[in-house]
C-alpha cells in the first residue's frame, strides 16, 4: 500500500444475513459492500456519493470499528480496523447527521464534556475545545440549557460539535447537513473546510446526497451504488468524463409516464425522468450525443401532445456522472419505494 494514506480500504466486502424480522426473505444474504477499494490522503475531504442503500454508512461503520468486514481489509493511519481497534479508536470520531447525542437531561455543555471525559481528555485541555465548538455551532448562548429543551436542529449541531472534541485524525461525517436549515448547513460546510485546512494531517470522509455539497467540499469523490464503487476521482475529473456529451433538461407539464419510444430516440444516450407531484411537472434529464438533439426532442414532445415548459442545456454535475455510470438518477432512486 502506498505510504501516506490515512485511510486505506482494500477489497472490502460486507454481507448481511437477513434475519427473522423479514420472514419472507429470511436466510437470504444482502451484499452491502462489494469489493470496495479506496484511499484517502491526509488533508483532504473525501466524499462518498450514492443513493439510499448504496453502502455508505456500512463503509463508515466498518472504518469506525463498529462493524466487522466480511472480507477485505481497512486501515486508519496504517492501523488495521479489525486487529488494532483500540489504537484506531484513538484516532477517529464519527457524526451522523440527523442524530442527536448524549442525554436530554444534561445541558449542551455538559453533554460535550461527557464525551471529552469518555475520550479520557482532562478537563483543562478539553474545556477550551468545548467552548470553541459551542461557539462554532452557535450554541454559546444556549450552553446551559438542557438539551431536551433545544430544537432538533440545535441538538444536531451539538452532535456535530461532538465530532471534533477529540481532535480526530479521521472524522467521519454521515450526511452532516441533513435536516439543517440553509444557514446552518452553510456554516457547517464552511467549518468543515476550515477545519481541514487547519489540520493538514487529518482527513474528513463524508457522505451526502447533495451533489453540490460534494462538489463544493470534496477533493475526491467516490461514487458508490449497490455496494460497488463506480468511480473515484476529483469532482472536476469525474465531470470531464461526461463532458463529451450534452445534458439537456426538459420540463414537461403533467405526470404521465414517458412513451417507450422516447428512450430510443437517436442521439439520446440516457433519459431519466423525475416527477414533481407538487407542481405537476415532469423533469427530464437527457444525456445526448450533441446539442443538436434538442430539436429532435422538441419535435417528439410536441408530436406526442405534451406541453414543453422549459428546455435548457446544463453544465454537467456529479448527478450526471452518476446517471452516466448507473443509468439512474440519484434523486430518482431515492423516490422509489424500497423493494430490496
Amino acid at each position: 500500500m502506498a505510504a501516506g494514506s490515512i485511510i486505506e480500504v482494500e477489497n472490502l466486502r460486507r454481507v448481511f444475513r437477513i434475519d427473522r424480522m423479514a420472514r419472507r426473505e429470511a436466510g437470504k444474504e444482502l451484499i452491502a459492500l462489494d469489493d470496495v477499494s479506496l484511499r484517502v490522503q491526509p488533508g483532504e475531504i473525501f466524499g462518498l456519493l450514492g443513493p439510499n442503500g448504496a453502502g455508505k454508512t456500512t463503509l463508515i461503520r466498518i472504518l469506525c470499528t463498529l462493524l466487522a468486514p466480511t472480507a477485505g481489509r481497512a486501515a486508519i493511519d496504517g492501523l488495521d480496523v479489525v486487529k488494532d481497534t483500540a489504537r484506531v479508536r484513538r484516532l477517529i470520531n464519527m457524526v451522523s447527521g440527523g442524530e442527536t447525542c448524549g442525554y436530554g437531561i444534561l445541558t449542551a455543555r455538559e453533554n460535550l464534556r461527557l464525551f471529552t471525559e469518555l475520550y479520557g481528555i482532562p478537563w483543562r485541555v478539553a474545556r477550551p475545545r468545548v467552548e470553541y465548538m459551542l461557539k462554532v455551532v452557535g450554541l454559546e448562548k444556549k450552553q446551559s440549557v438542557r438539551t431536551n429543551k433545544l430544537s432538533s436542529g440545535m441538538r444536531q449541531r451539538l452532535n456535530f460539535a461532538r465530532g471534533f472534541i477529540n481532535h480526530p485524525r479521521v472524522l467521519f461525517l454521515d450526511e452532516p447537513t441533513i435536516g439543517l436549515d440553509v444557514h446552518s448547513a452553510r456554516q457547517v460546510r464552511s467549518f468543515i473546510k476550515m477545519w481541514v485546512s487547519q489540520h493538514r494531517d487529518s482527513a474528513i470522509l463524508l457522505t451526502t446526497h447533495y451533489m453540490f455539497e460534494a462538489e463544493e467540499l470534496c477533493d475526491h469523490v467516490a461514487i458508490i451504488d449497490q455496494g460497488r464503487l463506480q468511480a473515484c476521482d476529483t469532482p472536476a475529473e469525474l465531470k470531464k468524463s461526461v463532458q463529451k456529451q450534452t445534458t439537456l433538461e426538459l420540463t414537461i407539464y403533467g405526470l404521465e409516464p414517458l412513451p417507450e419510444s422516447w428512450h430510443t430516440l437517436s442521439g439520446v444516450i440516457k433519459l431519466v425522468a423525475r416527477q414533481d407531484h407538487v407542481s405537476q411537472m415532469t423533469h427530464l434529464n437527457a444525456v445526448c450525443t450533441s446539442p443538436e438533439v434538442s430539436g429532435e426532442l422538441i419535435r417528439t414532445v410536441a408530436t406526442d401532445g405534451r406541453r414543453l415548459l422549459d428546455l435548457r442545456t446544463v453544465q454537467p454535475t456529479l448527478e450526471d456522472v452518476f446517471i452516466n455510470l448507473t443509468g439512474r438518477s440519484l434523486t430518482e432512486v431515492e423516490m422509489l419505494p424500497d423493494i430490496s
Partner: protein, 271 residues
C-alpha cells in the same frame, strides 16, 4: 497509571449523568419512592394486624429497601445497553477507546447512588410513620453485607445488560414473565425460609438480594433470628457471587461487542 486514571474518569463521567439526572427530575424521585413506601406500609399494617412481633416492621422496611435496588437493577441496569443503543449513544461510546467494564461500572455506580437516595427517603419515612428503628448489633458486619450485596446485585445487572442486549427486543416481553415469580422468590416481605429449604436455596442462589436481605435481617433486627444461614456464611457466599458476576460481566460485555460487530447489531440499522 494513565489507564487507571482513564478508567476512573469514564466511571465518574457515566455515573454523573445519572446523579445529575436524578437531581434535576425530582418528580421521578417522588414517584419512585411513593409506590415502594405504600407497599411497605401495606405489609407493615398486615403484620401488625396479625400481631406479629415488633421487629417485623423493620423486617418489612428492609425488604422494601432492597426491593428498590432490585427493581432498579432489573429494570434499568439490566436494560442499560439496550436503551443506550435505542437512544443512539451506544455507538458513540463503543467507537471511543474507553474501557467497556468502566462504562458498565459507571452505569451501575450512578444507579446505586440514585437508588440509595430513594432508599434513604423510604427509610426516613418509615422511621417517621411507623416509629421503626433498626437494632444493629454488629454495624461493620451490616455495612459489609450491604456493600457486598450491592456488588453482587449490580454485577448481575452488568452481566444481564450484555445478555439482554444480545437478546434484543424480545427481552422486553420476557421480562414480564420474570417479574412476578421473582417478587415471590425474593422474599422481600416474608422470611425466605417460609418457601421451604429447596426453593429458598434456589432463590438465594439466583437472586443476590435474597441472601443479602436474609443476612441483613439477622444483623439489623435485634430479636429476629430466623435466617437461612449464619450471616457470616451468607456474606462469604455473597462475596463469591459478587466476584463471579463481575467476572462474567467483563467477559460478557466483550463478547457482546464482538458478536455485535460481526452481525451488525451494535447500531440501529436506520441510524
Amino acid at each position: 497509571m494513565d489507564k487507571v486514571r482513564y478508567f476512573i474518569r469514564v466511571v465518574i463521567a457515566r455515573a454523573y449523568v445519572r446523579v445529575i439526572g436524578a437531581q434535576r427530575e425530582l418528580s421521578w424521585v417522588i414517584g419512585d419512592t411513593l409506590l415502594p413506601f405504600l407497599s411497605v406500609s401495606a405489609f407493615v399494617l398486615v403484620y401488625r394486624a396479625m400481631k406479629a412481633p415488633p421487629e417485623y416492621t423493620g423486617f418489612v422496611v428492609l425488604g422494601g429497601l432492597l426491593m428498590t435496588f432490585w427493581l432498579h437493577m432489573i429494570w434499568t441496569m439490566a436494560m442499560q445497553l439496550f436503551w443506550e443503543k435505542e437512544m443512539g449513544n451506544l455507538a458513540r461510546y463503543l467507537m471511543t477507546p474507553l474501557s467497556r467494564p468502566a462504562l458498565l461500572l459507571g452505569m451501575a455506580l450512578g444507579g446505586i447512588i440514585m437508588t440509595s437516595s430513594r432508599a434513604m427517603i423510604i427509610y426516613l419515612a418509615s422511621r417517621l410513620v411507623f416509629n421503626m428503628r433498626f437494632q444493629v448489633d454488629e454495624p461493620w458486619m451490616a455495612v459489609g453485607i450491604f456493600i457486598v450485596t450491592l456488588a453482587a446485585l449490580y454485577g448481575m445487572g452488568m452481566t444481564l445488560s450484555s445478555l439482554f442486549f444480545m437478546a434484543g427486543r424480545g427481552v422486553l416481553y420476557g421480562m414480564q414473565l420474570f417479574y412476578e415469580p421473582v417478587f415471590f422468590l425474593g422474599g422481600f416481605y416474608f422470611p425466605v425460609r417460609q418457601l421451604g429449604m429447596i426453593l429458598a436455596t434456589a432463590a438465594a442462589a439466583l437472586i443476590p438480594t435474597t441472601l443479602g436481605l436474609d443476612a441483613l435481617r439477622q444483623t439489623m433486627l435485634g430479636a429476629y433470628r430466623t435466617g437461612l444461614l449464619r450471616p457470616s456464611v451468607e456474606l462469604a457466599i455473597l462475596t463469591a457471587m459478587a466476584i463471579m458476576f463481575i467476572t462474567i460481566s467483563i467477559i460478557a460485555v466483550h463478547r457482546m461487542e464482538e458478536l455485535g460487530r460481526r452481525y451488525g447489531k451494535l447500531v440501529l440499522k436506520e441510524q
